[in-house]
Amino acid sequence: MSWCWFALLDAPAEDATAQAAIVGGGWLAAWQRRAKPVRNARRIDARIIDPVGEAAVVSLVLPPKGVRLPFDDLAVQQARRAVLAGPPTDAVSTLLRDASHFEGAITVMRDRIVDDPFARIFPARLLRVEAGLFGRMPPPCGPTIERYGSAQPWPWDRYELS
């Protein structure tokens, strides 16, 4: 699968494919299945998830309650450009709830903390996350900033799988 479900939780999930505690409280979890596991789950690029991944610092960007922004908004386009132009991170994915809106982003870092271009769109939280959820994925080849189908979170980079 090119994407899986991802959510921020108060307590660990019983049925998650992978999950990890946030230092200071809360959990992040991912599910590799079609059915939506929890109400606030969003789609994420499946390559970012690794059940044996090391602990990481993540920048989690989520829209404020009630705010919706089109994925094709110029600000979101520019953030994707800035990701390609900037220093590489361990992994990055936008978050989706439907085919047309930008519902946040997550950036995984380990060796160094870098600027998160998506943090200029919505507020970002810098979280220390335990091992067991996030892996490393190769940076996008570039220069494509478009999604490969509106159901796919950027930077998923091909049409073959869905």
Partner: protein
């Protein structure tokens, strides 16, 4: 595998339909090993070999490629630039020119040797001979451009035409689906 590139006077005798690129692996500008087929994924590719950041012809050509970026970023194609520079040098050059695509580094010149793309007239830097290949996603060569002399390099319109040709070949829905 050795690739011969078209001479300017023999431009149309390109290597389309006969040559497929070796699926080489090199470090990208961030130091990650990347394989050509993984970078291409399912898209058309502009594969550029260049001398190095120091060459004025390369600087001029990169300005053209960066100008194409506005279109390429929404057109589902890949651009890959290869040189003998180390990753940190490639990263600095990439940032300086404003390129948002992958730069590959071949400081040991192993891939250069396999491809036969060393510029033999430069006995100081031993760089790649400037060349551009437009590739199908399966790494077949559509057209090749010999950039030893600057005018042998593709114009942006030639690259657009190549990308159009390859895209038309590989996208089953090139003709917009009808109800």
């Amino acid at each position: 595998m050795r690739l011969e590139i078209s001479e300017p006077a023999d431009r149309d005798r390109s290597y389309r339909d006969v040559n497929t690129f070796d699926n080489f692996a090199l470090a990208d500008h961030a130091g990650n090993e990347r394989r050509l087929s993984d970078l291409a994924a399912g898209d058309p590719v502009i594969l550029q070999f260049f001398r190095g950041w120091w060459c004025p012809k390369e600087q001029a050509f990169f300005r053209k490629l960066v100008a194409l970026q506005d279109e390429a970023e929404v057109a589902y194609c890949r651009i890959i630039s290869v040189s003998v520079d180390r990753p940190e040098v490639s990263a600095a050059f990439r940032a300086g020119v404003g390129a948002h695509w992958t730069f590959l580094s071949d400081p040991d010149r192993q891939v250069q040797e396999r491809l036969g793309l060393r510029e033999t007239t430069d006995t100081v830097n031993h760089p790649y001979v400037p060349a551009v290949f437009t590739l199908f996603p399966d790494l077949r060569v559509h057209r090749s451009y010999n950039g030893y002399w600057f005018w042998g390099r593709p114009t942006l319109d030639e690259l657009r035409q190549d990308m159009r040709h390859i895209t038309r070949e590989i996208r089953a829905d090139w003709e917009a689906p009808t109800p």
